[in-house]
Amino acid sequence: MLGKPVNRREALKRIGLMGAGAVLAGCGLPAYANRGSNGRVVVVGGGFGGATAAKYLKRFQPSLDVTLVEPSRRYYTCPFTNLYLAGLRDFESLGHDYRELEDTYGVRVVHDLAEDVDVDRRRLKLAEGAELSWDRLILSPGIDFRWGALEGYDEAAAEKAPHAWKAGPQTHLLRAQLEEMEDGGNFVLVAPENPFRCPPGPYERVSLVAHYLKHNKPRSKVLLLDAKDNFSKQGLFMEGWAEHYGDMIEWVGLSDDGRVIRVDADRLEVETEFGTIHRASVLNVVPPQKAGAIAQRAGVADESGWVPVEPNTFESSRVPGVYVIGDATEAAPMPKSGFVASNQGKITARAVVADLAGREVPEASWTNTCYSVIAPEWGITVANVFEVHNGDLREVPGSGGVSPSGAAASFRRNEALYAEAWYAGITQDVWGTRPGE
């Protein structure tokens, strides 16, 4: 009003969605300024989940004292690294910083590693020695690898046979290996059992590696050895592979002896359950995973290595006052996707604000849309809407699903265009990156 921009708070007032108390509290005070804290929230992890939670905590309740702990000053997303691997996108375009969180929202961003946590004393210990105390703690630590769970695959092996399942040096290493690979070589990807980060990720990766090889090393082959018989958007991937890559990509599922039980990174060889040895020119191993280390330290993870949570809030089922979001959680049927992690960040921010104010948590909804790019103008999607029903997370009946099979090329092209647009939209929503920045 009076020529000032209308933000969420104003909009809620205009359409009558905010209670009288909230309207009065919003009067005459600058947006997002710290106005004498009414609660300290520490968020660990500045990825899709944590950065969203920090931003929306301040949007919901500007007077909260919010600290985000994230080692990187610039965060590179795992989504879209496959486009970089294919030579279709600049790596720097996957980087995002924390200026909007600091400057616009007044989040205190501490670039350090959360090393240990004392949930009884409510203190978080950082690698450089500082300690942070909280009224509520939100952990969004992502994944760690279960080194050695797949025989022969440890951190040293990953320097020869990269996972490239966290964006950074591993991504560059895999790209360099692809560039050095001879024409007529054999790219082998080893995919794990469920659950793991980014269910369609291995299949998008082989698609875009095939795209790179088709245009640069056309005599090469791509082999995907899978510990499963079914995977995300399977029919659509297979349709796209046939359309764009003929027989360049071979997928071997569990029933056809696709499960790898041993890796020899020095020889770039893998052995399957029934003793078949496959030799690779470039070997990409996506290893078994678990919740990030700080979740283990906090005692919120269970025997599976993942974190059970209360469905409506994502508060830990084991440690009250500690909330966990993102890939670290066991939140089936929600996938471990950046999209879902960000949505969980918003819902959990809302739950934390309500909890600190002693109020009821509103009924939640979460959505997911996972885009996969098979070729530059060939995109496919899965979409989901989730709700809590009788105390459990579930998909809303009749909603969601994958792109139609056999759709026109124009439909696939639109979904490829929307994939790029989605990336611009979500990285603006999470980190404030402007499209084209």
Binding site: P5, N7, L17, S403, F411, Y418, A421, P435
Partner: protein, 116 residues
């Protein structure tokens, strides 16, 4: 000031209309409406993962902020009813919400200014 009075009046009117729309009457119905209003905002927040914060990012995916309520409402309901043959993910997402929820989400984005 006149604008402020008008807005407060509109807001009160909306709250009352809300209560009536949800089939109740009296103060209890208004209270019930207020709870569902919070839920409406949580639904709107699912949209911003593609459309940007407050629905303001302009890409191949259209912005939502400040667009006419009737247009947004008609589009969302057409998505839900499979009346948009060229649509991609939106029909699958819109089917996860009731028509009443879609109407409130349309109202939310329509009430925002298009520019920050």
């Amino acid at each position: 000031m006149r604008e402020l009075i008008l807005l407060v009046g509109l807001a009160l009117g909306a709250v009352l209309a809300w209560g009536i729309a949800w089939g109740g009457n009296g103060p209890e119905a208004v209270e019930e409406g207020a709870v569902d209003a919070e839920r409406a905002e949580l639904i709107a927040l699912t949209c911003t993962a593609c459309h940007g914060t407050e629905g303001r990012v302009v890409t191949e995916i259209p912005p939502l902020a400040g667009r006419p309520e009737a247009v947004l409402q008609a589009q969302l309901i057409a998505f839900k009813r499979d009346e948009m043959p060229q649509a991609t993910v939106m029909p699958r997402l819109a089917k996860g919400f009731t028509e009443e929820e879609l109407r409130v989400v349309a109202r939310y984005f329509a009430s925002l200014d298009a520019d920050e």
